[in-house]
Symmetry: C2
Subunit: 354 residues, 2 copies
């Protein structure tokens, strides 16, 4: 291959795809052509990337001709069908869906934590973790490298954009119906006001929190809870790590938050934990409650790092830390991580050699 | 004493007081006079209780003349000053503030869990736990009685009415400013839109979650986190129970939610846990995710019980359960529990004998 590699963005019109185009416009420009792909519904639309208007093409086999790296930001069933097609045409696929994350022949990569894993990709596919995992795993990877992780108990506060454009539209519509009212004080009054159309959520999400994300798995677990456990284990290389998690949706547009109770091999100190977090790439320590400093989604949305606050040592266990972690689910949680993986892949000898 | 006991409600005009008057109007009527007390600002206002209009009187020593039980729903500093005054006049005080909860000579009572504790009250004062503790402790008490609790890891999703009327007004005002906009997608855009007046919260609470509740204690812990630990230990009679907790405020008007990771002495089964929760007084098991059944604050607000859903056994620890618990912070979380304690006290021989 000569010159700069060609990048394809599959799903360029979606919630993640839209943010990806912004990110590609902001990062160091290493790409030759950037090709935008979506469903036939969007073919012919023009979207801005790197300051240029680029026409969207429909997803077909030929759309991958000459593509070196293909970023997939489409529903899992679309990725499942089309990622192997792109790989067969010679593109390295970086997939953002759940389709391949637990496939043993597909690495699951977070560049700050396990960059080396991206090199072994027997199927020509690299997976990016779920946004909830990504919002916390960079900070945990840094702490694990020093202290050795033994157990995780996690609760999530997930933004509606984790469910795509439809999630955002649903919250905005419901907020318009409940704002300026006295709703939220009687059983079911919010539900009656917002009507039966709860969008991608099983319950109203305005003036509410919903303890469910994803589909039903065995024994009452949700798919997003299982994903957080499986993916944390795979990215950290700890296949038997105990992980207990409850996923909850909250009325926030973008940026997922998590409370984390992390137990380590030996005693930890808050001072050392703060040093690690303050210097870890991709992490911002924002933790001074006396000065009112802790991350909230409204403040971190639109930024790249994982923000960590409320760092405390468990009062009854000197080996455990409590954290509150916040990250933009559309940036590091999705688009940014795939852009970083694509850059990792592009930097390999096979790509940079003329 | 002859006839029915006299009840005083101190703080009858507040968020909790208002709900208490409704509850007193709904429960079996065991009281003689119900006297309504608030600050001099409210003296002369008329409030409805048991279908009658009752005039509010100002808080003075004389206001407690002839009072058998006095329910205090006022700020802690007001309770600290006035509860001993009421007790000295012969009233049994049931206090809802933080003033006496950790006092070794003041029992902390949840009638479903430790009713006996209400009988030993050397200071003539009984305390009711913080609303966050109350939202989960009835369910945990039932599980503890069977399985023996060993450890708790808890995260909260706390409603704004936990911060009183000012909390509710703040959320409603902020919602009116953000509804119908595209806010929530850029760093700080919500904060700029709602302005500097964040009410009783350190950050905007609309389109946001705020990992802070209460005041700053040692080592970065918040007072509400410390309260949940101290009070769970005291109510359950487990003075050394390890409790790790992070308290987070969410844009919900009323009803607190909590995720609970509870570890027990021996192996537990989900079937037995569900049996216990389905039959425990004050608890509703609402747990069938296949049918879309799990509690949410918007559905349980205005109801009395603790609602429990998402019951799962930890995948990596057969001694631990995961739960999602939801309860109305103004009813069981405050007003109802004090009304129940008052009924317990009134049922004692000394009160019922002529
Ligand atoms: N939202 C998040 O926080 C997040 C985080 C991490 C990962 N993810 C994953 O990223 C993927 C995209 O999510 P999203 O939230 O961006 O979804 P979205 O807003 O619904 O966008 C879906 C995208 O896929 C395209 N698409 C749908 N069906 C297609 C088909 N048959 N052929 C070609 N293109 C098709 C759509 O194109 P049209 O506009 O032409 O329909 C659109 O560009 C999903 O797998 C999701 O699970 C999302
Ligand atoms: N909100 C909850 O979920 C919750 C739950 C459990 C416990 N609590 C506790 O219950 C107490 C009341 O909380 P809230 O949320 O109801 O507060 P609130 O809405 O602010 O009401 C405060 C009440 O106290 C009265 N008051 C204030 N200063 C007074 C004074 N100097 N003398 C006499 N009365 C005075 C007020 O009377 P005026 O109207 O005349 O000012 C009002 O009735 C607090 O200690 C709180 O921590 C609250």
């Amino acid at each position: 291959m000569t010159g700069r590699p060609t990048l394809a963005v599959v799903g360029a019109t979606g919630a993640v795809g839209t943010v990806l185009l912004t990110i590609l416009s902001q990062r160091a420009d290493i790409w030759g052509e950037i090709r935008l792909i979506a469903s036939p519904r969007s073919a012919g639309r023009k979207l801005a990337v790197r300051g240029e208007e680029v026409e969207v093409v429909a997803l077909t086999e030929d759309a991958f001709d000459g593509v070196d790296v293909a970023l997939f930001d489409v529903p899992a069933e679309v990725a499942e069908r089309w990622a192997p097609v792109a790989a067969a045409r010679g593109a390295v696929v970086v997939d953002n869906s759940a389709a391949f994350r637990t496939d043993a022949d597909v690495p699951l990569v977070v560049p700050e934590v396990n960059p080396h894993a991206a090199r072994r990709r027997p199927r020509g596919i690299v997976s990016s973790p779920h946004c909830t995992t990504l919002s916390m795993i960079v900070a945990l990877g840094a702490l694990h490298a020093e202290f050795g992780l033994r157990e995780l108990v996690v609760s999530s506060y997930q933004a509606v954009s984790g469910a795509g454009r439809a999630g955002v539209e649903t919250l905005r519509r419901q907020l318009s119906l409940v704002a300026g009212t006295e709703l939220g004080t009687g059983p079911g009054d919010v539900r009656r006001a917002v009507g039966d159309d709860t969008g991608p959520f099983p319950e109203p999400v305005a003036l509410n929190v919903v303890p469910w994300a994803g589909t039903l798995c065995d024994d009452g677990w949700s798919s997003e809870e299982m994903a957080l456990r499986d993916e944390s284990r795979k990215v950290l290389g700890l296949p038997r790590l105990p992980v207990a998690v409850t996923c909850v949706r909250v009325p926030v547009v973008t940026a997922h938050s998590l409370t984390v109770h992390a137990r380590f091999e030996d005693e930890v100190t808050v001072d050392r934990a703060r040093e690690i977090l303050a210097t870890a790439p991709g992490v911002v320590l924002y933790d001074d409650p006396a000065a009112g400093e802790f991350p909230t989604p409204a403040d971190v949305v639109g930024t790249d790092p994982a923000w960590v606050g409320r760092v405390r040592r468990a009062l009854d266990d000197p080996t455990a830390l409590e954290l509150f972690v916040c990250g933009d689910n559309l940036r590091k949680g999705a688009a940014l991580n795939t852009a970083q993986i694509a850059e990792l892949v592009a930097a390999e000898a096979s790509f940079t050699a003329p």
